[in-house]
Every structure is written in C-alpha cells, then in structure tokens.
Symmetry: C2
Subunit: 198 residues, 2 copies
C-alpha cells in the first residue's frame, strides 16, 4: 500500500508476527523509517545475530546461545528439583518471578489426541532420561491450567509414579490482587477446595 515494494514487503513480514496485524505493522514500519539510524539498523543487526546464534538447549529445551543453557550448566541450580513447563515463554515467566532455584524441562507443547501429539512428540522421553542421570528428588509440574495442560500433568505424574520421586504441581487459587467478583467459578471452587488454616 506504500509506494515501494521493499517497504510493502517489510510491512507484510512484520504483520506476520504474533500480536501485530497489517495496521500495527504499518505503524511500526513508519515509526522505524522515521528513526531509521536509531532503530532499524540496530534491529536488523540484532536479528541477524540472534538468528545465527540462538539454539535449543539439548538438555532442557530452553533457548540460549550455547549447546547447553546457562541454567543447565550452573552448579548452583543442581538442587534436585526440576520444573516442567510447556513452553520457553513459561520458563522465562518462572525465571522472572525469581523464586525457583532448580532446573527446568521444556516439553514443547502438551499431549493432544486431536492434534495427534503423543509423548514421543514432546520432550517426555528426555525428561524420563534426566530422572536417572541427574539425581532428581522432586518434579514440579508447572503446566498451564487448561484441559490439555492438566491431561499432560496427569500423564507425567503417572509415568513418574514408580520412580519414587516427589511430584508436585503449582497451587491453584485466587491470583494475588485478584477480586472474587471477577474470577470464574472454576478458580473460586479450586481455591475453596484448597483452603488452608490461617
């Protein structure tokens, strides 16, 4: 829609990113063109650098720039706890909270009969292999509170049952700052069932 095909091609590419559509891509591109020295060239270089170096950690599936990520190589984090998440974004969210001090395992999705995703399509066999290799005492299932996430959690809990490790999952309940009036029935019911003495 602009007057040159290079700019149109850039807009079309930006519009494919999640969270951006044609209108916001146009806005972003115009903004970048106006500040091209400050924004465009550094962004292009940065993309190039990340495209060349980013890779999946062979152990946990986190994204980093080395074969084994910083969390997996850090001896400080070998406390026998492993936190299982669906996606790298979830791992980053856990890290932002800064509370978990163990290591991670990224499944790369959830089991789904509809999409024909079984344990072999996820990194579940690799998780089982780590159980033996790394002297794990507790597996924390930090999967999303969706049907697929919970199905996957139950499957993994079942697989781990015979291995004698503690299997836990994130608590479900009222989010901090949440107002009861705005919460769905499922959350209130889960919070009530898991109520605790003050």
């Amino acid at each position: 829609m602009s007057s040159t095909k290079d700019i149109d091609a850039l807009i079309a590419m930006m519009a494919k990113l999640p969270g951006l559509g044609p209108r916001s891509a146009r806005r972003a591109v115009l903004h970048m063109i106006k500040k091209r020295a400050l924004l465009m060239t550094p962004l292009s270089d940065s993309l190039q650098k990340v495209a060349a170096t980013a890779r999946e950690c062979v152990t946990c599936g986190n994204i980093g720039t080395s074969e084994v990520c910083d969390i997996c190589t850090s001896e400080k984090r070998a406390n026998g706890e492993i936190c299982v998440v669906e996606d790298v974004a979830d791992l980053w969210a856990m890290e932002r909270s800064g509370v978990f001090k163990g290591r991670y395992h990224v499944l790369g999705g959830t089991l789904s009969a509809l999409d024909a995703i079984g344990p072999e399509e996820l990194r579940i066999p690799k998780l089982m292999a780590r159980m033996a290799d790394e002297n794990i005492t507790e597996v924390i299932l930090a999967l999303n509170a969706t049907i697929d996430g919970q199905t996957t959690a139950h499957y993994i809990a079942g697989e781990l049952e015979t291995r004698g490790v503690k299997v836990t999952s994130l608590a479900q309940g009222v989010p901090i700052g949440g107002e009861l009036d705005y919460l769905d029935d499922g959350t209130i019911s889960a919070a009530l069932k898991a109520r605790k003495a003050l």
Copy 2:
C-alpha cells in the same frame, strides 16, 4: 529475562516499537526464533534494505525509495488536485481507498501552539511553493477531525484564500457501517447539519 543478553537486547528493541510491549515483544521474538530461517533472516535483510533506501519525497513528503516518489512523478496524477494530509500513514490510508487520483502533500504534523509548532515547522511553505509551480486547481484538506487538525485546516484555507484555488475538506458524518447508537454526539450533530436530500 531470557538466558542470553543478545536475545534480551532484541526483545528490548522490539518492545520499543509502537503497538508492542515487553510481553508481546517476548512472544514475537520466541516465535521468530522457532522459525528463524523462515522469518528472522529475511526480516533482518528487509530491514537493512529499507533502512538503506527509504527516504522522504522532496516534493510531497511521502516515503519511498527515490528522491521524488512514484505519485509525484506519475503524469497520470497531475490532475490539478492536491490532497493535504498530516502524516505518511494518512497518505497510505487514502491510497488504500483508491478513490483519489491526484497528488498529495504531507504536512508532517499539525500546528500546535502548546508544542511551539508553527507553519515553518511543517511543510506549509513547500505547499505554497507547489501552488505556483504545479498549476493546482483544488486543494483537498484531508486532516484528522481533531482540534489541532481542524486548526491547521483553517490556517491553510486562510493562506490559500487569495490564490483563487478551490479549497475543500473531507465530509464529516456517519461512517459506513456505523451504528448511530455507538456514535459520539459530535459526529451525529455534524452529520445532521450536513444532511442531504435523497
């Protein structure tokens, strides 16, 4: 928040684009890393190319890749009509509608006493110069229906008064597909004042 500073730097850069925040930038970057051959390298190349070639048309202020843009060089569009817009995004919006067949003039903003933006800060003197050079018969003021936009429209109309050109502005009224119940009072009142016989 990821495990490497290159990826963090890329996320920080993406988060500065209009329409993206830290969360959507993380999502976009993870998405790109997962499809890096398909998305990241082409996007980086495209940014590089646009950064190197994009420039403002010296005549109208449109963004293109040559000194004078395609619209200004096309003889087909020299019909004596000039459409004045605030920003390149507005020019592209007009072009998408495909109805206007004349040329454009991008002001680069609106007059604003608060921000000390006078006619000299905009491309208003250049517009006046074009009046003499290009044999203009009609100036269509397609400025935003905001206070600053309308102030600027009135200023330009005043400047053009003595030149004997026809000065028009976009009609104001009910947008196509719009429902009266959801429209603001100002729009309804403008549409009523400008009512026409069926």
